[in-house]
Symmetry: C2
Subunit: 368 residues, 2 copies
């Protein structure tokens, strides 16, 4: 399996993305259509595609020019959506998901992309890529449409782990800031800690400790700490990175999705009510499409697994070609910016300095 070619140079400076072609709800055709769209738009991208050769080879051959940009790697098995992460972790060898991660582990590709089972993908990534030195719990970061000029905020963790102590939250702040720097091109991202109020005395005790640690590590982490933020700030402009535990983050993410979907469907109903409103809808179509594009979850497709020795992008299970292409674009952007190495360096230095600062404050009686 070991490949000594440098992926950066493969095919004239191309960045190679490892893609799990199986396991999404729409099957391999949607994945191949997505990478073909990305290949068309971006000449600097190359692929290693993992899955059933017999299915994939004809799909690739049908897309002009794709076969030269895409290495096919046969994997006979597929991780199913309902399989338990613990089972996949033990018996996952031979699946397209395992193979896709393996290419990152072997440094043949910089980032892996999969539309498969999230829990299984995280479990396999943990076991094969291992955690970055200094990281206790990896996290999943998502992009959230916001009022900020760059259009999105980063939130993490949105579901890698239901627990997080103060030290984990500090690491999330460091990783989220690194992601915002490289994924959203922000020089000095503003980090907020999610709580039920912005006053200092609010919330759980571990949040106060986390807040002090995140504040202490701001300089080394290259971010600005804005203090506590609330649910309204997730799509707001008070900060760029929202730090929380995976239980709360997952519920916030899905509440936001549900609210957006409810409003969309009520909007559709409102416009279908009368002949006049249907006519208005026709005229308003370009405006509505612009809005839809702005908040289309397919265009911000991709939770990023942070805190591992390698970057993994989890695409929505129901992603179509547009969604897969968005996830590949995100993977490319992170690979191109050298995100993984920068993240590792930041975490190593800042975790240390943050812990030192918090410790010395504790010794001086400054913190609980």
């Amino acid at each position: 399996m070991m490949d000594t070619r440098d992926p950066q140079t493969k095919g004239a400076g191309r960045i190679v993305i490892s893609v799990d072609a199986m396991g999404g709800d729409r099957g391999p055709a949607a994945v191949v259509a997505g990478i073909a769209a990305s290949a068309d738009k971006n000449p600097d991208i190359g692929f290693i595609l993992h899955g059933d050769e017999q299915v994939l080879a004809p799909l690739i051959a049908r897309r002009r020019g794709l076969s030269e940009r895409c290495e096919l790697r046969h994997a006979p098995r597929v991780v199913q959506m309902h399989e338990k992460p613990s089972h996949v972790m033990r018996h996952g060898e031979g699946t397209s998901m395992w193979s896709a991660i393996e290419a990152v582990r072997n440094k043949e590709a910089t980032v892996a992309v999969s539309c498969g089972n999230t829990g299984a993908l995280m479990a396999l990534s943990m076991v094969r890529l291992r955690r970055l030195p200094g990281v206790n719990r990896p996290a999943i970061a998502c992009l959230w449409p916001s009022r900020n000029p760059h259009g999105f905020n980063v939130m993490l963790d949105v579901g890698a782990d239901i627990r997080a102590d103060a030290e984990d939250l500090l690491q999330y702040a460091l990783m989220g800031a690194a992601y915002a720097r490289n994924g959203l091109a922000l020089v000095r991202p503003r980090v907020g800690l999610l709580n039920v109020g912005t006053e200092e005395h609010k919330g759980r005790p571990e949040l106060r400790v986390a807040g002090e640690m995140i504040a202490a590590a701001a300089e080394a982490g290259g971010y600005e700490y804005v203090g506590y933020v609330e649910g309204v700030d997730i799509p707001g402009a008070r900060c760029d990175v929202i730090v929380t535990d995976g239980y709360t983050g997952n519920i916030a993410l899905k509440t936001g999705e549900g609210t957006a979907r409810l409003i969309s469907s009520l909007l559709r109903e409102a416009f279908q009510k009368t002949p006049m409103s249907r006519f208005a809808a026709l005229l308003a179509l370009p405006s509505l499409k612009r809005l839809q594009k702005r908040i289309d979850p397919r265009r911000v497709n991709g939770g990023v697994f942070l805190g591992l020795n390698g970057t993994v992008v989890k695409s929505h299970g129901s992603a179509d070609a547009t969604g897969v292409s968005a996830a590949v674009k995100l993977a490319f952007k992170l690979a191109q910016s050298g995100f993984q190495d920068r993240l590792a360096a930041r975490v190593a230095s800042a975790v240390q300095s943050g812990q030192d600062a918090a410790l010395s404050e504790q010794r001086n009686g400054g913190a609980a």
Copy 2:
């Protein structure tokens, strides 16, 4: 202070609502305008209004017919928005908020309404009304626009307490179901427990215990238990009552509000982009207004404090006359249905049977 009149008979079968006229962001004029609107629409409603007599008397006199329906009770002090609950709890006597709660305590009014400081209102309510027998932690329940035919779901706790153990969550289920029965006129509300996935093995261990207790108390509580629900189900149609701890519930509530606000403002921008889209917006105005009305937070104004010996409705601090009138309508509906007594009876019987069932399951090794 003790008043022996039966509020139900005061002014020919009127239901009396106790209203804190001070403490909202828009001042007493908005509150008086709100109760005047309610009085106009509903002949069966009467008020005890609490606050500065010199300010309130002329405001009431200006509204035709209001003075006969509204008893004015002077309270010289006002609880400020920034005051700490613990401070107000000790030094709150003489404030309009204290006085408004006192009227419920003395059974002069059935429900109290306030636009003031939430934390202070909860603290004073706890101290003056005391908890219902069988309730450890009171909760704040909110109504959330949803896909259900009745248009709203109930979610609790949305911020009374940041902690909740399994027994508290059971009590929230009982109280939320009673609220949905009386506030939304549902015969047998469907209750869901908020989690990060619907599979049984997901989430924190205390949620599994809570789920078993809520299932066991379903019969006595008069609800159907649908199991775990996710963030997308809060505005969805899978259940009518969403049970969660106050930390998660508060963050979900504010995330939903923030998302709705972001979409509204993006929608406005989209329609202002071109002359054509501005023309379309003009034609679409009735449709958009219908939608706005459906999700207007002022029309579902009022978190309800549950689990006390008396019902308290917390209106938004920024409520205008429409918002205050909506909170009064909700208070009236709950008072009219005899909600408080029904809730007390349900909690007393169901908490007992739920605990018995859970205990006997534990004894039989059926539960962790």
